[in-house]
Symmetry: D2
Subunit: 347 residues, 4 copies
């Protein structure tokens, strides 16, 4: 259920509504939009009555949310959610580009890539310290050591870190380094973990599971939001189908579907979505054309010797060519991508 | 097998190679490229020996094609195939836009839409006279009457007609009106019919089947090409997956995969691929960004009263807005879309 | 719409109902059950009124069929349809076993297999003369020559012939030899062809398409039934999924679903459904346990040298072992399988 | 890598091999079969040399395992793994039937069902205390309270308990009550959790993920086995496909595929696999006919009021009818199902 109030409602009126919700054993979620203030309610909302709220001061409307997901639905909030991370926004006009290697392999490798990306103006750096792999006998990431390297990268290059948390045991360590905690496709329906991550109230990047419907993805986001953690970035990364010529089938239909159903930002990971580097730039462009708020891309300075997913990684050179095209494309879909060439600014 | 010769080889040398192929009970396919002439060979090619051809005059190379599909493979011909239909090209720099209603419903409806599309500079008009429908109790198209209306549209508006042939019985009638014969997803593996259509040697638009892999699609194109009919346009229109929020899952990965594997043009049908009109423009832009050579789009002046697929049809107004965006997008992917506003030319 | 009458209704009352339906420009389908006579109506039934029929003599009930498929629905006829082919029934208590090689390869091969199957008491012989193959460059069947061999087999061994019709051109030739006309998975949605085959009013075996839902399959059967051709055997043969360890994913759930939704017999083709011979017997047993009315099985005396699908064919020895198990299993699901060992009857 | 030794090898010889493996920084896994003793090796086995072991006493053969999964592969151990839980075996001749409600809803409900199942001779009782649900707003299980009820059931009825562990936090509590720890489909690729569960070395029931291939499932089992936890029961429970007439598509092909690829027992959950109670018995019979070692079935005494999955639960009466049929079916596939009617033995 959703209580709609004016943005200029006196704080005392808002607090009374919140107090009433708590008294009725439900959880209030204050969600300000551009023209209205919404107070979402979760819990046993079927026990609530519209009349309980309709007559309260400053309440404009009481709405039953008809979708299974509530807090993340567009019905709850008609404005796009814009997530702000130290001045870098995700979900607004500026395209969000998250780039970096699949895994932290070594300090040298990570620094080499980070340096080049920084020079291109990239603000979000991705690299996995914990790697969920389908075989127990393949490279599983550098783990704590990897996190340390990421902490150094963060410090040295002033890059925002996006890295995956795989389990409860290492969650706090990951959360210390990560600016955005990534939740992988295989953990998308690990509901206890979603709740744990939600309790940290840090920005989360939630990847769609390989056989998750859009509704499943939004319900998983709802698990996080129900913990009063609203800074959630959704990520389409390809689904499993019968087609074998590509690693996954990138479901770009999901982009406009999600844009309509939810106020959360949605980005695309074409590296996993197509799985072959020479087709990644096309699918990156297609993702933005479809209306995505950004991209997550694997970039490696030496793809042939990468310890994981080298065949889907772009070289920095190709990545830069792609950025230029993205920059041209952005205005057509009411976005923008500002690129800085630090190498041109020798200061 | 493939015999590579110089483009400037004397005709007598070429003819000798062709004659030799015929003598060996195989079929020659003369496929000129921009720098080489390829003579593709189909039939019992495992019985041929490279040496039979290597020493012949003007022969530069003899190549075994390793893919299951031969004539349509990029290995056979490295240049893109550009299909020319009365001066309108498909597969070259100019984006090919095929637009019109799902079905011919009446003379008035068809003329109303055709007139508006013509004014926007559209050259290819689509509309089905024969409609394969999953239920025998739904509208099956106006059939012969529909073809007559299309013939009138062709005459009056000088539009190139793209319409589906459903069966042997009506193939010749369809071929008389159609500039491009459309083969539907459900007929993609109707091999006898592919051969029949191939024998007409008219341009063909071949839609991907709902559960066809990219390889299946190219093998179906090969059935047509093996009849010496090389003007084939491939069309991605969505595949069947577990996702239910959209009508189909548009597999845009297929676009760069096909571009690499084959020299044939590939277009996308986002109307069927997403199946909901308000998400069609986004997916149309994404298709072109992914590298498609064009689009097939359903446009209806009165979608709510359309006899089929109204919920996925754009109004002319929205279609025109999309064209403007496509026109801006095209140069980013080395394409162009020239639009004419006839209404601006009152003369 | 469906008019229910008593089985003992006077013929004149039945004829009046039929005449009324024709007068209203619809098509009547007389479908006798064990306790009631149903008259199905197809055509523009939304224009009919229940009252038009309710007051007629001997009419017990007028029912709107709520499914998209009508004539093939269980609502239309609560009894199972039992198809009788020269005294051999399909859909009744006796399991129907259709066996034989994938293709007619030669007179010797076909006779060798037919002879062994006949000795085991098999009544239905399958073998393709026309083979739809995904590549134009693989064996496409012996075509007319294959039909001639099948005609000989039919004559010499008194076996009922099940063979595929691929196109309009060869349909009549196939129909002359076939006791049951097989329609392949790739033609399941070739609606014009379904209608053509329906007009012959011969028994039809309709295979499920690779990405067809159960509803799609029943709607395709409806196309045939709408031509007043009611002897239709449905066949589950595996669908396309992401799983690659087997050729297809045999969807045995479809068996009880179809049994409930339709009165038509449903058999299973585990040879295509799993695609590896050493897993065919298990899936054959599973099919019957799930409630199927029979099986279609590939049997070849020399699988390693088969021209098509050898890897999924059983040898006669293994097939016989399977028959023995099926015979034991049948009573558990209220079926029976009577096997005759002609070799034990030297007279 | 795999060291094959005679079953009668002196302990000292075995210990020397094990010691050698440890010295080489790898992990030995002693896996006795009926005629041979296998010592599986995991870790950096690519660094090992066959010669290191070939000359050691009692070593008969050194084998490289070619599959990605090693310890769970049939190559590692040709005999079927039979898991013994207090005298009740899984994977041997006796069919393993695990039955009970989807969730523990209350003491009364759980006891009522347990009592009836016990009377039918059922040995394994299933019921979820922790329920992973796609929506955060649906019943999530009684959690600790549910475990307490299960502990009582275990005590009072001497039933072996099968219940799901959802997360690290509650794993130990679950493990105290559970005789078999169930890992759900959504956790199948939660690799850290697989390892944690493996470290307990308790019997595990591992359900196949909704979009997991058979290979993925076996690799997940390998994660557990690599922790020296070898008592793993695999469970097919349906995969996600385009078909919507059933909840999932039960992939019974997986049963013979897994039987060939692995020595582990495989059971089937037709309740989730088809998702509609009146089709569960057919699919249960089909599962056993396909070669499964047992079944997991939802039974509820009052399905209409069940808090979860009522529509797929059998009533005790229908469950008993199914058991009788299973008992008849078992010998056909070299299994047996012994049923006891305690109510007939009033002594």
């Amino acid at each position: 259920m959703l209580i709609v109030m004016g943005l200029d409602s006196p704080r005392s009126d808002i607090d009374k509504v919140i107090q009433k919700i708590v008294e009725l054993n439900c959880t209030p979620h204050e969600i300000p939009g551009s023209s209205k203030l919404a107070i979402g309610i979760t819990g046993q909302t079927h026990l609530l009555k519209e009349e309980d709220f309709q007559m309260m001061h400053s309440v404009q409307e009481v709405v039953r949310v008809t979708k299974k997901y509530k807090l993340v639905s567009r019905q709850m909030k008609s404005d796009d959610t814009i997530i702000n991370i130290d001045g870098n926004s995700i979900g607004g006009k500026e395209l969000c580009i998250i780039a970096g290697p699949c895994s932290v392999e070594s300090r040298d490798q990570t620094f080499a890539i980070a340096e080049q990306l920084k020079k291109m103006g990239i603000k979000f750096f991705r690299a996995g310290a914990y790697k969920p792999r389908s075989s127990p006998y393949t490279f599983q990431g550098l783990k704590e050591k990897g996190l340390e390297i990421l902490a150094e990268v963060k410090e040295q290059f002033d890059l925002k870190i996006v890295t995956e948390a795989m389990n409860s045991q290492s969650l706090n360590q990951v959360a210390e380094v990560a600016d955005i905690i990534q939740l992988g496709a295989r953990n998308m329906q690990n509901y206890s973990f979603l709740e744990e991550v939600g309790q940290l109230r840090k920005p989360v990047l939630l990847k769609r599971g390989m056989s998750a419907t859009v509704e499943d993805l939004l319900l998983s986001a709802e698990y996080i939001a129900a913990q009063s953690s609203y800074n959630i970035i959704l990520c389409e990364r390809g689904i499993r189908t019968f087609e074998t010529s590509t690693r996954n089938t990138l479901d770009l239909n999901a982009v406009p579907v999600i844009k309509q159903a939810s106020h959360l930002p949605i980005i695309v990971d074409p590296s996993h979505g197509v799985g072959i580097w020479d087709k990644v730039p096309q699918m990156a462009l297609a993702s933005i054309a479809a209306g995505a708020d950004g991209l997550m891309l694997e970039v490696h300075h030496d793809p042939e010797n990468a310890l994981s997913d080298g065949y889907q990684s772009l070289t920095p050179k190709r990545f830069k060519e792609l950025l230029n095209k993205l920059s041209d494309l952005a205005p057509i879909v009411n976005k923008e991508l500002k690129l800085y060439e630090y190498s041109n600014n020798p200061a």
